[in-house]
């Protein structure tokens, strides 16, 4: 098991290195010159050359790449003398436009994104799986059909539509909640929930539909397995048959998808954050792309990749705990 985990961690490191290289190349061939961006309006060619030198852009590309990699682990200093800027560990680049290391910039935004992601995930997991399991147990009933039509509808609505519809109904007409903004949970837990409930619901509606359909399909299949018949033949109450024998096997596939989705969401829910005007990583990505602040775009891409690969790893490890057939293979 330890060997397996070590191998998988090495795999994650490899994937991240590749993603690092790819984003770096994209960044390099991007037409906009970051030095020119930082240089400002009254830019002279000498000043531009100096900035190039300070940012290390005059070095060969492979050296820039190794500088970048080393910087992630050791931190680095951009430029020399009075103009030098410190970029501490883990240095994912320096945003001259914000005059701040990319890492610090991202860490400011991360709590918002995590708050949105985790809250929505809890909602959609509980809601989606409940609907799916109930549907599966009442397969082909009116309730099942109604819920499946409902999930199809909910999955078909684009997030910007649900987000705006919710805002109009609940905030503008109903006056039940404030317009969303981010309040740190430590400062005001109730305010945190109040402000985030709409983005949670909007995101959850989208995902819950998929989870309902997924868990329904998986549970329908599981409940038809011979070992479920064995459980019934033992005389177990139907409740135990469903919860102990059915859910254990039926919900394992849902877990895989959940890990991946949550990982992806931690990289920033771009549309949701934009529609609700929440200052998360998704919003940061959009702003940075608009301003051609490429170190930030690259940093966010790397962080998102890290979350996805890491979530994937966690899911696989958890899977091995849940499903003994996966172990040691």
């Amino acid at each position: 098991m330890i060997r397996y985990i070590a191998l998988r961690l090495a795999g994650v490191a490899g994937v991240l290195l590749v993603i690092c290289a790819v984003t770096f190349v994209i960044f390099f061939v991007f037409p906009a010159d970051p030095a020119l961006q930082a240089c400002g309006k009254s830019c002279t060619s000498e000043r531009l050359a100096m900035l190039h030198h300070q940012m290390g852009l005059d070095r060969p590309i492979w050296q820039q790449f190794t500088d970048y990699l080393v910087g992630i682990f050791a931190g680095r200093t951009y430029g020399t003398g009075p103009l030098a800027v410190q970029c501490h560990f883990p240095c994912l680049g320096f945003s001259y436009q914000n005059n701040m290391p990319v890492w610090d910039l991202m860490m400011q935004r991360l709590p918002t994104t995590v708050s949105i992601g985790i809250g929505a995930a809890v909602l959609w997991l509980v809601g989606g799986v409940t609907v799916g399991v109930v549907s599966a147990l009442r397969k082909d009933s009116l309730l099942d059909r109604t819920m499946m039509v409902g999930t199809l509808t909910s999955a078909s609505l684009p997030i910007y539509f649900t987000a705006m519809a919710l805002t109009v109904l609940v905030v503008q007409i109903g006056g039940l909640l404030p317009y969303s903004s981010y309040v740190p949970i430590a400062e005001d837990p109730i305010g945190w929930v109040k402000n985030l409930i709409l983005p949670w619901v909007a995101l959850a509606l989208l995902y819950a539909a998929m989870y309902a359909r997924l868990s329904r399909a998986s549970m329908v299949e599981t409940m038809a397995e011979p070992y479920i018949r064995t459980a019934r033949a033992k005389g177990l109450p139907e409740r135990t048959v469903v919860t102990k024998h059915g859910l254990r096997a039926g919900l394992t596939p849902v877990l895989t998808v959940f890990g991946m989705d949550l990982g992806a969401l931690l990289g920033g829910a771009i549309i949701t954050e934009s529609v609700f005007g929440l200052p998360g990583l998704g919003r940061l990505t959009i702003d940075s792309i608009e301003k051609s602040d490429q170190p930030v775009v690259m940093g966010v891409a790397l962080l998102a990749a890290f979350f996805i690969t890491f979530a994937n790893l966690l899911v696989d490890l958890f899977y091995a705990v849940l499903d003994p057939q996966v172990r040691y293979q």
């Binding site: 397995e225 011979p226 070992y227 018949r229 064995t230 459980a231 019934r232 033949a233 033992k234 005389g235 177990l236 109450p237 139907e238 024998h245 254990r248 096997a249 394992t252 849940l322 499903d323 003994p324 057939q325």
Partner: protein, 321 residues
Amino acid sequence: MSLLTVRDLTVEFTGPKGTARAVDGLSFTVDEGRTLGIVGESGSGKSVTSLAIMGLHDRARVTGSIDVAGTEVVGAGREEIRALRGRRVAMIFQDPLSSLHPHYRVGEQIAEARRLHFGASRRAAHKHAVQLLADVGIPDPGERAGDYPHQFSGGMRQRVMIAMALACEPDLLIADEPTTALDVTVQAQILELIATIQRERGLAVLMITHDLGVVARVADDVLVMYAGRAVERADVDALFAEPRHPYTRGLLGSLPRLTGPAGELTPIAGTPPSPLTPAAGCPFHPRCPDRIATCETVRPDLEGTSHQAACHLTATKKVTP
């Protein structure tokens, strides 16, 4: 004394194509400590019958009477049936791998019924499970109780299933094609095990199979089913010595034999009937080599005393078997 009494059992499934009568007016009994083999081809209604005894049919219409040790199963409430399942009647199935839960240790799966019906503690039930694993011939049972089903071979898995069935000391064991998914050599071992357990514990066994070889090995009495009906019933020696129904003779004729003159096997002509469109008269008449005019219109019932057959020919003694 009869432990299981089935009377006029009819099981119907309604689907988009109409109503299929999988079991049609079946009656039989199984006595304490005896083994009844139910033989028939696919679709003859033998598995449907076994599931009906366990009350495991979800969407079927079950009528008639199934009396298990004094409890009527047909029309019984959920709780009443649950008290029987696993406790008085236990069942083993065809494919032991898919019939065991892949995510739980076998010891836990065996102990589950004991804890449920006897209220045994986790520890006591586990100890009992290990003992059962030893009883069914699994080496190193203490160790193996902690293994998962996929870590066992096919034959060992079926032994685990048998141990699970024995957990609550049932009176009746239903074995639905218990050896069909196993290698031939392993089949013999499992049948031997079932026979030993039956002898030692005085169980009544209902052995559902399509294999006359299995019947010959373990059964005391045999019930031959065709198209949801009993066509012949006799003790095992009488059936093999003197089969009275043309279908039984057909089954025996399609078996290879080691003794006697070597010759070609004789298959039964035609195909099994669809339960959606049952034939008028005797259900076997379209395939029967000896049919007479009556067979096409009048449905024969089981006739006789100890050796019964549902056949106009045997009844009128027009054919010497």
